[in-house]
Amino acid sequence: MLDGLLDGYTRSLLIFAGINVIAAYSFYAPFKTGQVSLGQAGFMAVGAYASAVLTQKFGMPFAVALIFGGVVAGSIGVVVGFPALRIKGIYLLLLTLGFAEIISVIALSWDYVGGAQGFRNISFNPFTLEYVIGVIVVLLVFFARLERSSLGRAMDSIHQDETAAEVMGIDVVRIKLLAFGFGAGIAGLAGALYAHHATYMDSTTFSIMLAVEILMFVVVGGGSTYWGPLFGAAVLNAIPEFLRALREWLELVPVEWTNFYPVNRAYDFLHDFLDFENAKRLIAFGVILIVMMILRPDGLLTRDSLRWLRLPRWKVRHA
């Protein structure tokens, strides 16, 4: 469908950005009830390994494996979510972090899924981009509908004050568990899509740093609206590419324009500055994160800024 329009590099870039968007929504779902998880990378790993086992060892088509990956990760999410109900805040953060590490140890020591050599030769899915776009559209519609539904409002009220929500007759346990399991399921989808695009993974692919990046997408984009995760993941994935493009434009400037004294220094400085390998990219991310927490702790997009922007919304009935 999109074959003619995009070259391989752009395509791959869009796929990884899209998978990050999906992962950001997997963090957003439990976050809507106030649960902060550093285990989303672990659920991605569960979905990735489960789906890859299905396509490679049982010869199933990708569509089946994708759903299977989501369901397995979601079920494990519910299993982890049960004990997680008892704890909050940093305790939950540490619990989910511990869960993700255990998943990574299992991936490392279980030879059936490749063990230390990693899971190799996963069948490549040529339609990953179409799948990614499809999943994002479904998620966007779902969360847009959710925001104005009674379930969505119940989730918001749990986020704001759990005790008050319970007193109002909201089934806090059921909704928190649902949100946690659903988030894990979305992470599973992201993992399955990743595995069948990268075709290789090992126990370090889904690391704590990935979980931190996922958290960052939502925090930077804004965790209080459903546009936030999409926006955050898109912006943070676009920044390095944008700077790279700037550098390429800079190289198009004719040499004779810049090869005299003050300009050449400035040119070299700018050229070096825009050379964005991984360490510099991550340093910039870290600085952005700190500055964000000081200036806009609720993220770039909040409900107020959306109202100001008048982005499309489902009809509101004011009570």
Binding site: R86, I87, Y91, G98, E101, A279, I283, L289, M293, P297
Partner: protein, 290 residues
């Protein structure tokens, strides 16, 4: 054999304990999960290494230098990622210290490169035999430094005015402030002490493993967190004992079960503690959940 393993566990545990002490002190006074602590440990290791390689310093100077540099880094951390951040959002300081973690780790990658760097032999390697167990001079050195630090810190917290102020602040910010404690200064000094100890732990880790890389921080941070929980949040002697305990458990499980399963056990301990004994093995004064 088992005695030998226990000695090795003690060694590993001593460095866990040193990291966890800083965590638990900082958590005590700020109720903040300070994510960048592992990176302070890593920076300490690099400062020590460069003092030895470039400055030709002996190991004591390197330890002291790392301690001072990390204490300063702790102060910077407070001013950059703790004080300016919104107080009314529980997540904000956590995320800003995650940001600091990412910055420090990747600055180290940028400056020192992503590879493992060898740590020169600074303590003369000799082996001593005590009946069935063999202990090296390096092990004795590390244990001695770690024990001294822990005893000094314990005396400081229990028997000095500043130590009392730290305990009072950990109990309750408002009450401590009412009683004339300068809470901001206490927070700053706590960060300095915790970070300084982490710096020493970093250098000791470099000596022990004879190599360091910019990525050692994250693992150290996670193990430090487990130890902090095991010992009880904000409980300094608890962190010391729990550190030694976790070190022993890891070494024993690595020796008798398998090296890949080692981390499995420590994370299972983390989860079990969180679910069944959130106050840790030795209790905690913290009741507030965040």
């Amino acid at each position: 054999m088992i005695y030998q393993q226990l000695i090795n566990g003690l060694m590993l545990g001593a460095s866990y304990a040193l990291i966890a002490i800083g965590y638990t002190l900082i958590f005590g006074v700020l109720k903040l999960l300070y994510f960048a602590h592992g990176e302070v440990f890593m920076v300490g290791a690099f400062v020590g290494l460069y003092l030895v390689i470039l400055g030709g310093a002996n190991i004591y100077v390197a330890l002291l230098g790392a301690m001072i540099a990390c204490a300063m880094l702790g102060v910077i951390a407070v001013y950059v990622s703790v004080r300016p951040v919104a107080k009314n959002r529980p997540l904000a300081p956590l995320i800003s210290t995650i940001g600091l973690t990412i910055v420090l780790q990747n600055l180290a990658v940028y400056i020192f490169g992503g590879q493992q760097v060898g740590f020169p032999e600074t303590v003369k390697q000799e082996l001593y035999n005590f009946g069935p167990i063999t202990v090296s001079s390096v092990q004795i050195f590390i244990l001695a430094i770690a024990t001294t630090l822990m005893v000094v810190l314990w005396l400081f917290i229990e028997h000095t005015k500043m130590g009392r102020a730290i305990r009072a602040t950990a109990e309750n910010h408002e009450t401590a402030a009412l009683l004339g404690v300068n809470v901001n200064r206490v927070v700053l000094i706590t960060f300095m002490i915790g970070s300084g100890i982490a710096g020493v732990a970093g250098v000791l880790d470099g000596i022990k493993n004879s190599g360091i890389s910019p990525f050692i921080g994250l693992g150290a941070a996670v193990k430090g967190l487990i130890v902090m929980l095991l010992g009880g949040l904000g409980n300094v002697p608890g962190a010391m004992v729990a550190g030694l305990l976790l070190g022993m458990i890891e070494i024993l499980s690595a020796a008798y079960i398998g090296t890949t399963e080692r981390d499995f056990f420590s994370f299972m301990i983390l989860i079990l503690i969180l679910l069944y004994r959130p106050t840790g093995l030795f209790g905690t004064r913290m009741t507030e959940e965040r």
